[in-house]
Amino acid sequence: MESVGLEQVLAWIREIAARVEEQRSYLTQLDSAIGDADHGINMNRGFKAVLERLEATPPADIAGAFRTVAMALIGKVGGASGPLYGTLFMEMGKAAGDRATLDGQGLAEVLRAGIDGVKARGKAAEGDKTMIDVLEPAHAALSAAVASGAGLEEALQKAEAAAKEGMEATIPLVARKGRASYLGERSAGHQDPGATSSHLMVAAASEVWGE
């Protein structure tokens, strides 16, 4: 496909929820090493609520879908990832506006707005060992591919690859933001849980939209 509509966006969100459920203990385990052992639990609680709300009141458009995700995460996740992922989707919703579909270009714009929101709220920069270390390279790869005329499938594959690289690149980093920063040097050598859940979201997109 060359652009995604409400249906595809909902499919993506459901795929994220499924993967979070399936990887919840892995995410929690990563958080045990440098955090407080709840990231998988938090994300799973949040996306369960997302599915319920999408069921209860089906959104009218893409912006509505993102807003529903945002409100559910903000209301149910708690912790750092709740407001941060909540902000990500909230800003993506605002940027989507009344568009009925998003092509590669549109996806890049929407993601950009989301990432800026996360940075404004969390004050993290690349290299701080957070979800930003996945979201930024994923966005960069996506827009570069789109600019060079690549199709959505290829662009998303590039984004996923960059996200994976960014996720693994958090391992040697010393955390400067979030709970892991309290460990100082001891935070090095562990993959960041939020970077891992961010990669999960990008990978889900490349799978469900990558045809």
């Binding site: 052992a37 709840d38 708690g78 709740g82 407001p83 941060l84 969390g122 920063s181």
Partner: protein
Amino acid sequence: MKKLINQVDDVVRDELEGIAAAHPHDVRVNYHPFYITRADAPVEGKVALVSGGGSGHEPMHGGFVGMGMLDAACPGEVFTSPTPDQMLEATKAVSGGAGVLHIVKNYTGDVLNFEMAADLASDEGIEVESVVVDDDVAVQDSLYTAGRRGVGATVLAEKICGAAAEEGRSLSEVADLCRRVNGQARSMGMALSSCTVPAAGQPTFDLGEDEMEIGIGIHGEPGRERMKAAGSAEVVELLTGPILDDGPIASGDNVLAFVNSMGGTPLIELYIVYRDLHNYLQERGVTITRNLIGPYITSLEMQGASITLLKLDDDLTRLWDAPVKTPGLRWGV
């Protein structure tokens, strides 16, 4: 995992039902969303104090709701900060027209969620001030990091600011006082064992039979350093040295000494730690004029202790001594 709980997902709700059943005259519990208020809230014309954070630190914060301390507490899931809707509803429920102070422990999650809640409350016309507590010297402070954790000083700030609010001080006065308490208090903690987050089902970290973690927080996070387990006197040095080195407390000062159990360390050990702390400070010309000894800011069933020192002056001492009537802290009434 062995705990006296029922369903893992019901831990916080079951606990809140227990608190509601145990203290009907002191507090009221709201379930949608979760928050606890003092039974007589809102208190007209009084600055209201709202705090909150992940559960698992009992009696903090819910146990500190009542006359002379907090007006409301928002419990999150275990070790997970509560959400903005809880804080907003609690803020509205206790607002008595004189403004609301949010006392926030410095954790990214708590700070971000309270930020969102404060924005929403202001939108609804409630004047909110927020003070972030960050007293943990185990964490190096820096502009580029999340900064220091909020730990033991939170309990002292809630008691002292609660007394000031009862006296009728204004929102900005109570907020300034809270910043002053935070500025004059320092803490550090250690663990002899990890704790198990119910939903995780296994200990957050493993410690060898002869190891301890120094510089832990209150969420089962591993600490700054793992070392060979030591006796009480040595542990007191390891915790109190960095506290004194950090600044505000010096020879000649009077302090409130708060020796806290992480949850699994019994009173017999806390008194031994207190004795060693007393001697350590005496040798350095610091005089303990008030103290608090027991499990007040815990990390589930973790074994270990933390030490908090607050530099006292007459105003802080008087506010500390003022009557307080909460499930977790009570005197003078």
